[in-house]
Symmetry: D2
Subunit: 117 residues, 4 copies
């Protein structure tokens, strides 16, 4: 999907309701954390096969929570003048440097452990 189109819709929605006044970065970031928590809530108390079944049953709802996370991510980036595409490209370069395949393959260790830092 295209996050720029999504952002345009979000900004039009906000404009129409005159909500910019409430959208300080701190409250946007709080929304992001709380919506991420709602995603996690669907995974709570179940494990293994039982969790897999629940996630199939909850698929539609988890999708809505992930859409909420995406909503605040895209809007917060916009309000702070952050270019998400560049940020993501930079992150991928960093990850590649932190976790070179020959060290990281099949390991769940953090890069600080992997590289003996």
């Amino acid at each position: 999907m295209n996050t720029d189109t999504f952002l345009k819709d979000i900004l039009a929605f906000r404009e129409e309701r005159d909500w910019k006044q409430f959208h300080n970065p701190k409250d946007l970031a709080i929304s992001l954390v709380l919506e991420a928590g709602e995603v996690l809530e669907h995974m709570q108390w179940k494990n293994g096969e039982e969790l897999e079944k629940k996630l199939v049953a909850d698929k539609e709802k988890v999708g809505e929570e992930l859409a909420d996370v995406l909503y605040w991510t895209v809007l917060l980036a916009h309000d702070l003048g952050i270019n998400l595409e560049e940020a993501v490209a930079k992150k991928m370069r960093q990850n590649a440097a932190k976790y070179p395949p020959h060290l990281a393959k099949g390991s769940s260790a953090k890069y600080t452990e992997l590289q003996g830092k």
Copy 2:
């Protein structure tokens, strides 16, 4: 930006490191919550003008945290078979129904309060 291109990069990165085995949905959702927390951490203890200055200074780093949030959002959606584009479209329709402009304009009330539910 295009999240499908991003997803392809993420999946190639994971494949190369054989990390699919660690990526159960619960741990992915935990990562999402923790990265959202790192975004919020940049807003902690500062307010008003002081916060604004800090966010200008931290722009690059906040961008990296938002890239992390996007990373787990896109990957978790993929692993659960969720179509983010559809989820986002549905969410926008729901928001429009919950917050009609004539009721919501200029108000920070929740839809349950707005509509007297």
Copy 3:
């Protein structure tokens, strides 16, 4: 342990540093969430036996994160004029009503499912 003694120490610590001015409820609650996240971070990516071993190894550090959580809980309650002892007693009565043993025994269902609400 006695949370009132702990609270006295926290208040003396704050007073000595003149930090009351930074302690608005929103930033205290943010701290609470972030410290709870640090507890969870110790459980990330590991499961089963591997997680058990890690938690034995990390016991000291997890204890420090839990102490941080307790710190903000006790301080936030104080600043909002909340009596934690009463709040806890009320919560236990609510839990007992929501989860009567004859319905809840051996079940991980939420009370809304349990009681067909």
Copy 4:
């Protein structure tokens, strides 16, 4: 309040419902994070005087969320064999070392900034 008495009540409650089987540390820590999020949710979108009023009105409910946070903190400490009283004492010693009054007084800087680390 005495957290040992509270812990006894929690353990009796769990025993009666045979819920120990669901209480792995990861799900307990997830509960802790989600309940901390519910505390923060009461502070969302409001600021200044408006937030103060809301917190007076929501006092009872915020108390219940803080009781939930305390619940999982005390139970998780117990299940991991952590002595909260010792952890708290250690934390207070660390805080005193990180934030000596002559450096920290009236400053919201992190100890790493304060001490030029």
